[in-house]
Every structure is written in C-alpha cells, then in structure tokens.
C-alpha cells in the first residue's frame, strides 16, 4: 500500500467520526459508561484488599526473649536469626521499657503504678509475609534458641484468610461478569453503528476495494473513539473517586479506613481504560464489518 493511500485511509477514519457523529457519540458514551462501571468495581476491590491487608498487618507474632538475656544480647543474637526465617517480612525488637510504655499508652496509667519494667520481657514483634503459614512459622520461631514463648493469633489468621478469599472471589467474579456485559453492550453499539454503512461497504467492494482498504478507516475510527472513550472515562473516574474519597473522609470525621489514593492507582486505571477502549473500538469495528466484507 502506497504512502498517499495510508494518508487517505487515516483521513477517512477521522472524517467518518464526524460524518457519523451521532453513532460516534453513542459509541463513546457506551464505552465511557461501561468503563466507569467496571472501574468502580475494580477500585472497590483494590480498596477492600488494601483494608484487609492493613488488618492483616496489624496481626503480628510476639516472640518473648529468655529473661536471662540482656536487651543488647537479644537484639544482637536473635534479630538476624528471626529475619532469616522464610515467611518473616520484618522483625522489630521491643525492649522491656518500650513494652511498658506501649502498655501504658493503651491502658490506664494508674494500673502500672509501682510496677517495674522487669515485669515485662524483651520481645520481638514479627510481621509475616503469608498469614496462611502462621502455624508453621510459629513453630520455627519457637525452635530458635533464646525464644521462650510465642504468641500468634492463629485462629484470627485462619478466619481472616477465609474472609479475604471470599471477597476476592466475589469481586473478581463481579468484574468478569461486568466485563462481559460491557463488551456485549459495546460490541452491539458498534454493530449498530456499522449496520448503517453496509451499503457503502458493498459499493466499495464492487468497485474493487480490498478488505484491508475498507477495514483501515474503520480501525482508525475505532482506535480514535476507543482512546477518546477511555480517556474521558479515566477523567470521569478520577473525579468520581476524588469526590467519593472526600465524602467518606468528611462523613467519618477521622479516617480509620485508609482509602487508596488515586495517585497510587491512576497508571493502572489509565492503561486499563485505554487498552479496553482501543481493543473494543478497533477489534469491535473489524469484527462488526466482517460479515459485510463477504461479497
């Protein structure tokens, strides 16, 4: 295909958008609506997972140190041993005095009057990588010389994992179902948009146009509409998310539920929206006209 033909075909793609402006508007609107619905559920899923992960992070294992060891000895000898265990994400040493202070912050100070630091043991606060392996990791920590007792909320971990799995499956299923529904609606809109042009395609075929010559403007048109639809859906999603975030913070006063900032997820949202928009626009257009090309 010669260069001037490419220029003509690309130009035709752009011209078609304006010539069939109502159907272009309908296609873009449907793409925006479907992407926003999918986006809402995806962002909801990301936030639920974030909240669950935060809850999970708060469930740490406490490993108490042998009373015969000083703070320096415990920190020097045990820290690296604990850090080298497979499922351990982080290890923080908490001395007797720090443990006492933390206890006093949580409870009434009067309870601690006259009670010496020595009542508390040196300990390590351990975060795990995978909560489902809490039992195995607890056993490994208990085997470390110098650790005399390990407190691990294993029962909570089991329940927490079940809840997280259920939520993940439900949200994934919802996103997949909504994805299919959106694709169905979008492909039908594009089919409707190209139906009115079947006569035009038939004429093109009759004067000797090849399939690629006919397809090219449709691909360009689909790409442009997909990019415009994806881009506008991204902006709308951004505005919606920001408004919702502000509303939640305002209604809850202090935000004990940490909402994932849009700044953290926007590349994912933008890339996904543009990819879906381009895929649906270009591929949908080509699929929609394929029946009219069989002349």
């Amino acid at each position: 295909m010669k260069l001037n033909r490419y220029g003509y075909l690309i130009g035709e793609g752009f011209r078609n958008i304006f010539t069939h402006c109502f159907m272009s508007f309908a296609s873009v609107t449907i793409i925006i609506a479907c992407l926003i619905v999918m986006g809402i559920f995806s962002l909801l899923d990301i936030n639920i997972n974030q909240i669950i992960d935060d809850i999970g992070d708060q469930n740490q294992i406490l490993a108490y140190v042998d009373e015969d060891m000083t703070a320096q000895e415990a920190s020097a000898k045990l820290q690296t041993k604990l850090e080298s265990l497979d499922n351990v994400a982080s290890v923080e040493f908490v001395s007797r005095s720090e443990a006492r202070e933390s206890f006093m912050e949580k409870y009434d100070e009067s309870l601690m009057e006259g009670i010496d630091d020595e009542v508390f043991r040196h300990r390590f606060s351990i975060q795990l990588i995978d909560l489902s392996l809490m039992d195995e990791t607890k056993a490994e920590i208990e085997d470390v010389d110098g650790i005399v007792k390990v407190n691990a909320p294993t029962e909570f971990a089991d329940k927490f994992i079940s809840v997280r799995n259920v939520i993940s499956i439900v949200s994934l299923a919802l996103i997949v179902i909504l994805g299919f529904v959106s694709l169905f609606i979008m492909s039908n809109t594009i089919k409707l948009a190209t139906y009115g042009r079947r006569e035009e395609i038939a004429i093109m075929k009759m004067v000797g146009a090849s399939n690629s010559f006919i397809r090219c403007p449709f691909i360009v048109e689909g790409l442009v509409l997909g990019v415009v639809g994806g881009g506008l859906a991204f902006l709308a999603q951004w505005g919606l998310y920001a408004a919702l975030e502000a509303k939640i913070v305002e209604s809850l006063g202090i935000s004990f539920v940490e909402i994932v900032p849009f700044a953290q997820v926007w590349p994912f949202v933008l890339i996904t929206f543009l990819a879906v928009g381009i895929l649906v626009g270009a591929v949908g257009g080509v699929i929609a006209i394929r029946n009219y090309l069989k002349v």
Binding site: R5, Y8, K205, A209, N211
Partner: protein
C-alpha cells in the same frame, strides 16, 4: 472478454433455476446487449460477472479470471478490470460527485496527482462539470446515472458492464448515454 460455460444458478431457498446451463462468449471490443423479460436472469448474469454471486454449476471467466476458482482475496483484482454501472446507481451518499468518482481511482492505488487530472476530465465527458461538490442526493436521477458512468469509466476498464443503464432515464438522456458508451 467473457466466457460462461454451462452455468446454472439456483438461489438459496429457491427450487427454480435462475439460469440453466447457460453458455456465452463476449469477445474484446464487442458491444453486447442482453435483453429479455423481467425475471429472465439478466441481473443474475451481471452479478455472476462481477463476482457478487457464484454459480451453482459451471464456470465464469471474466478478463482471464475464473471467478469460481478465484480466491476471495484476489476478487478485487478482477473487479478492477471492470467498470460497472448499476441499475440503482450505487453511489456513496456521504461522498460528493468528485469523491465518488475519485474513490474508484484511490481503490486501485492511483496517485493524488493522477486523480486530480483524470476525474475532472471524466466528469466533463459525462457532462457533470460544475457539479463536483454536489452530493448524490442533490442530483437528478439522470445526473446520478452519469456519476455512476463516470465512476465506471475513470480507471479505463477492460470491460464496462451496465445493468439497465437507461432504465431511469428519459428517451433523450437514454440516447445520450448510449452514444457516450459507444465512445
């Protein structure tokens, strides 16, 4: 050149043969007329020649292309050797007169310069100079017919096929058209 050998055409969902073992040959330079009552199969023959439909039996050879054996992706090459004037004109509504004619040249990969030179000449030949920027809907039936003729002529085809080209024209215009085709 056209050669049809024992061509039978039975349309889907129909028991009656539109064509039954038809054989014909049209040589280069020949001006052939196909006449007959409505429903006798004239349009079916034209559709077979343009590759719009395939025969149920027999073979159709157009300008050296056997349409039955021709791969679908090669069909445009065969069609580019033809200039077809359809009974219902088949102009693209959204394109101007100029673009409808130029489109046939773009399809065969003509350069822009060549298109700019050739299209006005052909439009002048069919008497449509000054109508370049009009849309088909803004033209009379006779004018639309002449746009279709211009489109059929613009690539200097080996063969011109016209399906009832005077069907929508008054006697004066009909005579003009026949004289034009004779040129």
């Amino acid at each position: 050149m056209v050669q049809m050998n024992n061509v039978t055409m039975v349309y889907e969902n129909s028991d009656v043969a539109a064509l039954d073992s038809v054989s014909l040959t049209i040589s280069e330079g020949e001006f052939a007329f196909l006449v007959g009552p409505s429903g006798s199969g004239k349009t079916t023959i034209i559709k077979l020649l343009t590759g719009e439909i395939m025969p149920s039996d027999g073979e159709v050879i157009v300008n050296g292309f056997n349409t039955v054996k021709l791969k679908r992706r090669k069909m445009p090459q065969m069609r580019r050797t033809l200039g077809v004037i359809f009974q219902d004109f088949r102009l693209i509504d959204k394109m101007t007169v100029y673009d409808n004619v130029a489109f046939a040249m773009r399809v065969v990969g003509a350069a822009n310069k060549e298109i700019r030179e050739r299209v006005p000449k052909v439009l002048e030949l069919v008497g449509l100079e000054g109508r370049e920027k009009r849309l088909p809907a803004e033209l009379s039936g006779g004018e639309q017919q002449r746009v279709a003729i211009a489109r059929a002529l613009v690539n200097n085809p080996t063969m011109i096929i016209a399906d009832e080209p005077t069907g929508n024209l008054d006697p004066v215009r009909s005579l003009e058209l026949m004289l034009l085709l004779e040129k």
